[in-house]
């Protein structure tokens, strides 16, 4: 089964204890739907298999994007050409 607090932590959600059981039930129901879907016999249905995948590639041709200001300014907070976010020090990628 799942641990609702762990999922909340991974999703960066601050879960109030009083909503815990309600959310747990909801998530359980969602997972129930998926389980119900898995129970359907699809052996006669032609599926989306790996073998019929067709490659779709882009050529390696760079496109200059121009002034970053247009793209940066939609952010809630900026500093010069940079996005400004609350202080984070530590690790990102593993």
């Amino acid at each position: 089964m799942f641990d609702i607090q762990k999922i909340a932590k991974l999703a960066r959600l601050n879960l109030k204890p009083e909503t815990e059981s309600e959310l747990s039930t909801q998530v359980k129901n969602i997972l129930g739907y998926v389980e119900a879907l898995q129970a359907v016999d699809t052996s006669t249905v032609e599926g989306y298999g790996l073998s019929d995948a067709s490659p779709h590639f882009r050529p390696d041709e760079p496109v200059e994007r121009g002034d970053p200001e247009l793209r940066v300014r939609i952010s809630a907070r900026t500093q010069g050409d940079l996005f400004f976010v609350p202080k984070v020090i530590g690790e990102g990628d593993a």
């Binding site: 991974l10 995948a53 793209r71």
Partner: protein, 480 residues
């Protein structure tokens, strides 16, 4: 006291040298104005879709083939989920269960010359994250997403290393291979090649793997060596004291030369990998793989063996020339034109590399291989002496002219005019009566000094054979 054996596996991230990003057409270029190379795709705006850059896959396959991997005709992209401001989508597109390449190998040499095979578990493709800047900002962090979405390959080895020297040799060879293939520039200091060793120790003679520590922040070959050595000592001391090792991630502090705890396994990320529904499976048909195989550049080892045979070089010289693809390319172009491999090799390893070392790169070196070849030809045909050639070479560094033209303009050609040489010889003999006497008394070595003086007088331009002959004749004559 128990004797321990080192067990290391490494993960290497290498930035692929493509012109554009992995899933969008933004330039893959560094040093630009922050966020200049961004677009809705790499900024993760709603509704965008990634499209794979063909060149990135090609470069990865090239590296995979060079590392003797199996290239899988079907592989799959997966989402690796985590929250961090340098990752706009909240997930990184990577590969998980089905990487492009699997089951490779590379032979390494230990310090005692023993060869061992290191198995490569997998090579997969993924996108890089952006950069966070903290300096000069007190209340927050700044984000530059120019690097977000640029292509990376991750190479994962099996835990097959048993010594630090093997790791060092592997990294050196790998870097060289990636540079030869023009797949990655291999610059660890600048982060275009990053290495993370997984280090454990176990009592020698046992099979079970010990508790491993993953080491991060390694940004040079030297740091990899020092970091692993440090971990071996730290882990050995702990086990000897009867302490238990924890599976943890540690960082390497280059200045303090010690590792520090970053996180223990219980805090390990839960990435919830799943296949990326935005991207179909990556299908590589065998004809394309074959085409890449055929167009793959000659690799360092076979190239070294070939140039030893083709140009009659020794192993040590071949090692120097093959250390960089740019050097060996330079050498071969020059040697073919000059028609003398050994002499060209001496010039490349001597004057050329010395001048390059003083500043610049061989790619931007002002004396291009064809001009060096002309210079070597002038020496080979006896037009100039090697002393004069060094002078001509110096002039070539600042002049675009051919060595031939420089020799003409500066009057540096060899003088074979016997009259002019005889005059110089007569002067030397009259200036050095003591040395002449010594020679006549049987000190043969003095002849070298006298010839040297004569050459100096002729500013290095005298035909050595004529000078030698005339000097001997003149000295013998003075006997009478």
């Amino acid at each position: 006291m128990t004797e321990y054996e080192l067990v290391v596996g490494i993960e290497i991230h290498a930035q692929l040298l493509t012109k554009s990003k992995l899933f969008c057409a933004c330039p893959n270029r560094f040093g630009d104005r922050p966020n200049a190379n961004t677009c809705p795709v790499c900024l993760a705006h709603p509704g965008v879709l990634p499209v794979v850059n063909r060149a990135a896959i090609e470069k990865l396959v090239k590296a995979g083939l060079a590392l003797n991997c199996k290239v899988n005709e079907i592989s799959r992209f997966a989402r690796k989920n985590y929250f961090y401001p340098d990752l706009p989508k909240g997930y990184q597109i990577s590969q998980y269960e089905m990487p492009v390449c699997t089951d490779g190998r590379l032979d390494v040499t230990d310090s005692d010359g023993k060869q061992r095979t290191i198995r490569i578990r997998r090579i997969h493709i993924e996108e890089d994250a952006g950069k966070l800047l903290h300096e000069g900002v007190r209340s927050g962090s700044l984000v530059d997403l120019n690097r977000a979405g640029t292509p990376l390959m991750e190479i994962v080895t099996e835990p097959d290393f048993r010594s630090v020297d093997e790791v060092y040799d592997f990294l050196t060879q790998l870097r060289r291979i990636l540079r030869y293939l023009k797949v990655c520039d291999g610059n660890m200091e600048e982060g275009s090649m990053r290495c993370e060793p997984n280090i454990s120790i176990r009592p020698r003679g046992t099979e079970a793997l010990g508790v491993k520590v993953e080491l991060k922040n390694i940004n040079s070959f030297k740091a990899a060596r020092r970091g692993i050595e440090y971990e071996v000592i730290r882990q050995t001391l702990m086990l000897d004291r009867g302490e238990k090792l924890r599976q943890e991630t540690r960082g390497w502090d280059e200045n303090k030369e010690e590792s520090f705890l970053m996180r223990v396994k219980e805090d390990a990320h839960d990435y919830r990998y799943f296949p990326d529904p935005d991207l179909p499976p990556l299908k590589l048909d065998s004809a394309w793989i074959e085409e890449i195989r055929k167009t793959t550049e000659e690799l360092p080892r076979p190239r070294k063996e070939r140039i030893i045979k083709e140009y009659g070089l020794n192993e040590a010289d071949a090692d120097v020339l093959c250390s960089e693809f740019a050097i060996i390319d330079y050498f071969e172009t020059a040697a073919r034109k000059a028609g003398d491999g050994k002499l060209t090799a001496n010039w490349v390893m001597g004057e050329v590399l010395r001048a390059v070392k003083a500043g610049g790169t061989i790619e931007s070196f002002p004396v291009r291989p064809d001009r060096l070849a002309e210079l070597v030809k002038l020496i080979r045909t006896g037009r100039i002496s090697s002393t004069i050639a060094k002078k001509v070479f110096e002039l070539m560094l600042t002049s675009p002219n051919s060595p031939e033209a420089i020799v003409e303009a500066e009057g540096l050609g060899i003088v074979s005019d016997e009259k002019a040489i005889a005059e110089a010889v007569a002067l030397i003999i009259s200036e050095n009566p003591e040395q002449v006497r010594q020679f006549l008394e049987g000190k043969d070595k003095v002849m070298g000094f006298l010839v040297g003086q004569g050459m100096k007088k002729m500013k290095g331009k005298a035909d050595p054979a004529i000078l030698n002959r005339l000097m001997k004749e003149a000295v013998e004559k003075s006997r009478a």
